[in-house]
């Protein structure tokens, strides 16, 4: 076929490769090199507020001071750990709720199925910020939940729901639930339900049929779903800010505040580099899983 490629076509081929390549090199890859560079600088009162990489005599000025500070200050270690923990709790809640939902959707009749799926995707198209905001109205001291509970007489003083870790976990679960359900549904939908029924007819218990048939088939979807929830939840800024209150320690918030409030760009960059190092393993894992999935579809 190569013979039929005229010069014009070859030119277009190169444009098609080069345009997205250049764009992503400049606006995606290069910025990471810059973050790394600035994380090795010292903060100064200037514009921009960090020391240049080389002195006036050309000698490099790199310092590991920001990383040493991150390691020595317990606050940062605690914040990273808490973010990992909250992301894990969110992932677990999404899985516990999302798995039976995806299973139920995959097993319903085709016409109901498309409506049920639509209703899962719909909140995703509505602003993320507004969905978190909706929970503020529900959970505040004089919000809908407390008003309802007081009205039923179950309680006579409003419960403190807002500005707790519980509120943050609920908000995160709410925001990321569709990310869990969609990949789970995709792998459960391919499953032949007759297999489960045949196993049960042959005397396998429900639990046995689940572990031997449903679970192995659902595993790729489960892994993809968990990673798609865990990775972005780790770096969340908006949800912990609005629902977790001023004291909720989340690494995304610390980065944001370090940058905007303290104007310590090098330290913020170091916080970002460490966050990326924590996330690099799950991200590579996810890309492998997705590449494998694309191959099986083809």
């Amino acid at each position: 076929m190569a013979s039929s490629l005229d010069k014009n076509t070859e030119l277009w081929r190169q444009v098609a490769v080069a345009a997205p390549y250049l764009w992503l090199l400049i606006f995606f890859l290069a910025p990471f090199a810059i973050i790394l560079k600035i994380s090795l600088a010292d903060p100064i009162l200037a514009q921009p507020p960090y020391t240049p990489s080389f002195d006036s005599d050309g000698s490099p000025t790199f310092t590991l001071g920001n990383y040493a500070f991150l390691l020595s200050d317990k606050l940062y270690a605690v914040t990273y750990l808490r973010s990992v923990l909250m992301a894990l709790v969110t992932t677990t809640l999404c899985l516990l709720l999302g798995f039976p939902m995806a299973y139920g959707i995959a097993r319903s009749s085709p016409s109901t199925r498309s409506l049920l799926l639509l209703l899962i995707v719909l909140p995703f198209w509505i602003s993320f910020l507004l969905r978190v905001y909706a929970w503020m109205g529900l959970m505040s001291n004089y919000g809908t939940i407390n008003n309802f509970l007081i009205w039923t007489g179950l309680i006579d003083q409003p419960l403190t729901i807002m500005y707790t870790d519980f509120a943050t976990a609920v908000g995160l679960t709410y925001s990321y639930l569709p990310f869990m359900i969609l990949p789970l549904y995709a792998s459960l939908e391919r499953m032949d339900i007759d297999l489960v029924e045949a196993a049960q007819d042959l005397g396998a218990s429900r639990a046995r049929a689940f572990w031997d048939i449903t679970w192995p088939l659902a595993k790729p979807g489960t892994i993809a779903g968990c990673l798609l929830v865990f990775i972005p939840a780790m770096g969340e800024y908006v949800t912990p800010y609005l629902l977790g209150g001023p004291d909720s320690l989340f690494i995304g918030r610390v980065l944001f505040d370090e940058f905007f409030n303290n104007r310590d760009w090098p330290l913020a960059s170091a916080v970002a580099v460490v966050l990326l190092l924590i996330l690099i393993v799950p991200i590579i894992f996810l890309q492998r899983a997705q590449a494998r999935d694309q191959e099986t579809v083809a």
Binding site: M1, D6, N8, T9, R13, A16, V17, A19, P20, Y21, W23, L24, F27, F28, A30, P31, F32, I35, P48, L97, Y103, G104, I105, L119, L122, P123, W125, I126, S127, F128, L129, L130, R131, Y133, A134, W135, M136, G137, S140, Y142, G143, T144, N147, Y174, L177, I193, E197, L227, I231, P232, Y237, V238, Y241, G252, A268, L275, L276, Q287, Q294, A298
Partner: protein
């Protein structure tokens, strides 16, 4: 088909209630006459009226729409190219890097993307004097970069799922490769491109964190305006704004669903 177990039905009911009660609650309170956002003071549409007289909201909406349309269009062009290259060009040098760069922005935490792009813009300004002012152009570039990934994935999966034989037949019949792309491939992947454009448009309208990093003084997008208000707590005019957005999105999605269902039946 066996009937669903009671457990599954209960979880489904709970799950959908969980997804929709917060939205219903916002819409309900948007018609509340009381200034106290969660105390019912009678039915009123005053907050909707107040919204259309609020110049800040209208300016922010205008800027957000301008950015969303521009970045969705750019992302669709670049994303379609990437998806096409990844699906049809086989193995070439640098393919792994390209596919890694295409998918990574989708999962990168927003704070990292935002910070890294701002640092890039600041460095570029020092080096070449551009961008002189951060705002429309820098936010558009940032949104294009992460939306491109979604378009590329959608187009790529569509191309992989699509039979290559139509394109090959056209080639065999003497069609020039470029003609084949424009006459056969593009019309076939048009639905994927439209879906990608709409998704990019929505993602751009939705973004708060990245825009907060890369915008400059005087450039406030709609999410940035909303965030600055809801930081202080629940407010009735934001309820009205949220309800309008919920209504527009629901109608749009319902229409799209009906259209695709009808075309699937034919």
């Amino acid at each position: 088909m066996k009937a669903q177990s009671r457990f599954i039905l209960t979880v489904l009911a709970f799950g959908y209630a969980f997804l929709y009660i917060p939205l219903a609650s916002v819409v309900f309170y948007s018609f509340n006459a009381s200034r106290l956002a969660t105390v019912w003071g009678g039915f009123s549409t005053r907050w909707y009226g107040a919204l259309f007289e609020n110049q800040q909201v209208l300016d922010a909406l205008y800027l957000s729409l301008k950015i969303a349309i521009t970045s969705a269009t750019l992302a669709t062009i670049l994303g379609t190219m990437s998806g096409f290259v990844l699906a049809r060009f086989g193995r070439f040098k640098g393919r792994t890097l390209l596919s890694g760069m295409v998918t990574s922005p989708m999962v990168m935490p927003e704070v990292i993307t935002g910070l890294s792009l701002l640092l890039l813009f600041v460095s570029l300004q020092q080096l070449i004097g551009w961008p002189g002012q951060r705002g429309f152009s820098t936010i558009t570039i940032a949104h294009t970069t992460f939306s491109l990934a979604y378009v590329a994935i959608i187009v790529q999966s569509r191309l992989i799922a699509m039979d290559e034989s139509l394109e090959e037949a056209a080639m065999d019949l003497g069609g020039r490769p470029l003609r084949v792309v424009f006459d056969i491939t593009l019309p076939l992947i048009a639905p994927a491109m439209i879906a990608g454009w709409l998704l990019s448009f929505t993602l751009s309208l939705d973004d708060l964190v990245i825009a907060s990093f890369v915008s400059g003084p005087g450039s406030t997008t709609l999410p940035m305006y909303i965030f600055s208000k809801v930081k202080l707590g629940v407010s009735p005019d934001i309820n009205a704004l949220a309800s309008i957005i919920i209504a527009v999105v629901s109608i749009g999605v319902a229409l799209a669903w009906l259209v695709t269902r009808r075309s699937a039946k034919h």
